[in-house]
Symmetry: C2
Subunit: 334 residues, 2 copies
Amino acid sequence: MSETGPPVVVVLGDDRPPLLERLGQAARLRQVTQKGLREALAEADVLLVWDFLTDALPEAWPEHGGPRWVHTASAGVDRLIFPALIDSDAVITNSRGVFERPIAEYVAGLVLAMAKDLPGTYDLQRSQIWRHRETERVAGTRAVVVGGGPIGRATARLLSALGLRTALVARTAREADPDFGRVHGFGELPRLLPEADWVVSAAPLTDETADMFDAATFGRMKRGARFINVGRGPLVVEDDLVAALREGRLGGAALDVFREEPLPGDSPLWQTPGLLVSPHMSADTHGWLEDLAEVFLSNFERWVSGRPLHNIVDKKLGYVPVAAADTPKIEEGM
Amino acid sequence: MSETGPPVVVVLGDDRPPLLERLGQAARLRQVTQKGLREALAEADVLLVWDFLTDALPEAWPEHGGPRWVHTASAGVDRLIFPALIDSDAVITNSRGVFERPIAEYVAGLVLAMAKDLPGTYDLQRSQIWRHRETERVAGTRAVVVGGGPIGRATARLLSALGLRTALVARTAREADPDFGRVHGFGELPRLLPEADWVVSAAPLTDETADMFDAATFGRMKRGARFINVGRGPLVVEDDLVAALREGRLGGAALDVFREEPLPGDSPLWQTPGLLVSPHMSADTHGWLEDLAEVFLSNFERWVSGRPLHNIVDKKLGYVPVAAADTPKIEEGM
């Protein structure tokens, strides 16, 4: 750890983040990959986890000391919640504010694509076949969005705007929510699932949410309902999802996140009928890297001047509690 | 024409509409195809154009007399606006109220599919390739919806709900519109097109709108903008659209309607890069035939009891004027 001079900011990742040249003399920047990580952490004041899919941190974390502040260019912090970091004094912050709207739009696009059978239309176009089909109206159908954080909330709001009757399900039930009235608790899922035409997973990965979408959950869903996961891969027991699709219990599904990423080339998921596979990209719209850099830079300014940081993760919960509504507003351009 | 007894209702089409058994003794139903049309029209009081893609009417229309009321199971009435029918005393009504919401959803789905590159994702999935791409945020982008009727309005409303900055363009400019504030006139298109990221054609086919999307129109659009047609095929000069796509002026397009339908198997449109082809199905969600039958039955009840009909088409304009806002509300299930 540096005793004098500007703080040492270690950036973990293969790629250099944009905009960090703005730091100028205010920080000593060190870009490292997994290779130099252990040595860099020993002298780091701040760690910016730019490659947020890295699994390198637990092994490289110093036994004593280490960065006082860890910021991740992601919403989920599941890869940062390892014992040594939890037990340390380090503050963890995430990139809440960047991903909500793009992910909500992506989910809305998937819902409409499935309802209107766009995949079927692409296949028929490829074969130059004109075959009229009746499709589905989404207005009035029922959606359950699991995940009470900003991504789940933004998704539920946008599905509501499309006319879906949308229930938001969070770890803890809440009344008098300004957007949704009642927010349901995880315990109410068994009652809500049989009514839903759409079930969207947008929850953080925690001990409580791991494997929550398994055979039992899919078994409670309405026959023909659709499932979408934009949360984290390990929320879903992938074999159970494939089985539910194959036996026709589910009418379709879309996964943007997977237990193993990149999804191996020989995974059966690629060719499961009725399943759309996309490469963890729902949040990543043009400019997202700049947006992520801005979130870090704004927090860095707060850190050096001793003001409270935005987006502080509750290490025990594994996410930023909603009550900590100090997230800087990202312009939605409206 | 029948002089006594229940009115003769001629249904034109290969398929029998649902629900018409409800008419019971209140009508004498005759189902005909192109073949028996001329004879049937001579004794018809009412013509229900169930096969709304037929071109058989102009030739079969009687020189004198003919049905007093013609109802079409469509929104567009372009196939009914031929001189003999215009000059006749027959009232024309359409099926306004059935198609708005499904078409609006379909357009929203196309916008999101293009912004999120779903076609690219399908192609990569088929090849089992994990390739992350950055996509587009739709919130804050600009859409121009051409067509001030209920379909254009519903589409513009839904795109606005998705966060697009949406301008509605109609034949006649209007101020103080309850939904949109200002509705622009066709004359303002040259000014609006260069700003738009999305241009949606949802206009009726009239002398004024035929061929309105041609090389000149595409030439005014922003480089990389997308074009969607859910109106009628002849609004678009298809060769000009293909050229605009091939030279990269347009970033993508989707056509649900065509100058010739079904689109011939050897049309170059099927394989034009960046063009989505669907078989005139944007409006047709499960239950649409029942909805169409309900619209006719409700109007039939009004007709036999001498009350004013809903959805009366202005024969000169070629559509139901918006001011005639007597359209029965179709439940959106919200």
